[in-house]
Symmetry: C2
Subunit: 345 residues, 2 copies
């Protein structure tokens, strides 16, 4: 077991079993458990539930810290907010708490079906007022809106796409290679992340190159965040962030991320898939995102009936998701507040 | 010897010895030879010489093929065009034709001093009508304009900076790591590039992610260039391009690229260094360049007296330098024609 994924670091969360989960790639994930953090109360009408899925490497904890709070758009005084950790992320059923390198391949659709079972069977929900998530959370948001169009009343995919691009697939491949080419990886049979430290460091370097933006570094944002140089930023912040994570978990998520694609429902026809969406949808890329760029996100937004294009401005790029730019977080709140105030059928 | 760097592949070029070269990092490069390709004739006034330095992995051959020709801006019927291959690039003195991993560290300033000796002592020049180069060729162009301000009458740095950024330094570090972490690299003591094929392939993947642009792939430019998928584009074009190159050569150039910095002349004061430039300068970033982005280039342009900002529009990004976008090549020609027509003192 990896102590990084503890209640102390990421809790409180509860583990809720949803039974065996049939997987899209074949086979079954037995006794699938989802790590869930709850905020607020379900109302009598059961129409105030919000689902918040998680991104690559992130857990429910950062969603709470950055996006949820009294007086915020995601306000637990008004809404019943359910943060569900993705399968493979370390808190829910994952390589690190089950069979390591023998863990099966998981699809975004597997997560969403597991979450649907959780919401309907465990919580008795019949609709979601909103699904909102960033990056792989956006992939799950799109999957929800396409797979369960009647269930999802509003959707806000942030910094992510409905169908992953070839460019993004290759970027993710470089992340995978950084880990698997470390001799300490031993085909997933390492004893601890420390054995894969060199690979995890290269993985952190790649995240630094693509995760922020050239403008972030040109305007010395890394110094504003407290790091004297790029080297220190990589060695301390970025490498430190990933160093304790389980490599097999990261690989499970990376494989899933690469293949996010709602057009699997429509034989590859993306307009047809996005045409299914009934949720009122705000598409929110981040202006300086280098791998889920504004142009790719807008291309999809134009295919979603009644949707609105609401880019968030921040030189922090993709990792502005971390909440490093207060002004971007404020834009998120303004958009989500407006979206939640929009009447839906 | 590596047969890739042959006259057949890259010639005709001539090797011109400039003697021993003192290096900025200390020590000497004995019997330094520069591989030079010449186009056109020097006029009687000796005022029609144009210097074209080379970029990372490129040789004089691609400069000829893409940028030089009768009726073009770089017209051998009007100008005496001297393409000089950078030290470490494989044609001039390089690891692959001398002492491999024991080759000394080379700076952009070493190249420019070697070129200065070539131009003054071998060709008897007293000025250059123009220095124009892309990427590391832009680094050399800036170095020329700052180091020899009286000598350089016009300068056109394309898709490169005068002082490398921290972001770009880290991108280059990921290229270096891709090669050196291949077990076949053997600290530079491999017998052929084939032994480092896996590392060179990862290096090609990283170039694919950062070298073009997300818009390039979104608009299916890779398909327009003849490749059905990203995977085929990586496996065939990008991997094929780098596969025969000498890893130690690439590492020599990468180290040099990381440290390009004209402010070494002025104790780190970039405005003071760029303030030295007397050349009429057109700064030409490429609109979709992901690691020498427009914003970084414009920041420098604003520090150059009398300079003009002339971005080239192309979704091909940095590797538009390869000449893949005819419309961008036409923009290059229009700018260089105008620059060459501008009177200088």
């Amino acid at each position: 077991m990896n102590n990084y994924y503890s209640q102390q670091n990421h809790g409180p969360f509860e583990l809720i079993g949803i039974g065996d989960l049939q997987l899209e790639e074949g086979g079954t994930l037995p006794d699938c458990r989802l790590a869930v953090s709850l905020h607020g109360q379900l109302n009598a009408a059961k129409d105030n539930a919000i689902l918040v899925p998680t991104w690559y490497s992130g857990t429910s904890k950062i969603m709470e810290q950055v996006y949820i709070g009294t007086g915020r758009a995601l306000d637990p005084d008004k809404y019943f907010i359910i943060c569900v950790n993705q399968i493979g992320g370390g808190l829910s059923t994952s390589p690190s708490n089950s069979n390591g390198p023998d863990f099966p391949q998981i699809r975004i659709g597997d997560d969403v079906r597991a979450q649907y079972r959780l919401l309907t069977e465990h919580f008795g929900l019949t609709s979601l007022a909103l699904v909102v998530g960033g990056s792989m959370g956006a992939q799950q948001t799109y999957e929800w809106a396409v797979r369960y169009p009647e269930f999802v009343k509003r959707a806000a995919p942030m910094a992510g796409t409905a169908r992953n691009t070839e460019h993004d697939f290759l970027f993710t491949e470089t992340l995978i290679d950084a880990i698997t080419t470390d001799p300490g990886f031993h085909k997933g049979l390492y004893h601890s992340p420390e054995q894969v430290a060199a690979g995890l460091r290269r993985h952190a370097q790649l995240w630094t190159v693509m995760g922020w933006s050239t403008e972030f570094f040109r305007t010395r944002r890394h110094q504003a965040l407290g790091f004297a140089s790029m080297a220190e930023f990589v060695d301390t912040f970025m490498t430190g962030y990933f160093a304790s994570m389980d490599p097999n978990n990261l690989l499970c998520m990376a494989w899933k991320w690469q293949r996010g694609d709602v057009s699997r429902h429509t034989a590859g026809d993306l307009p047809a898939a996005l045409g299914r969406i009934k949720a009122k949808t705000y598409v929110m890329p981040i202006s300086h995102d280098m791998f889920f760029p504004v142009s790719d996100c807008q291309t999809e937004q134009l295919l979603i009936s009644g949707s609105e294009f609401r880019p968030l401005q921040s030189v922090d790029g993709h990792l502005g998701l971390f909440g490093t730019d207060a002004q971007m977080v404020a834009q998120f709140d303004a958009n989500i507040r407006e979206l939640l105030a929009t009447p839906v059928v």
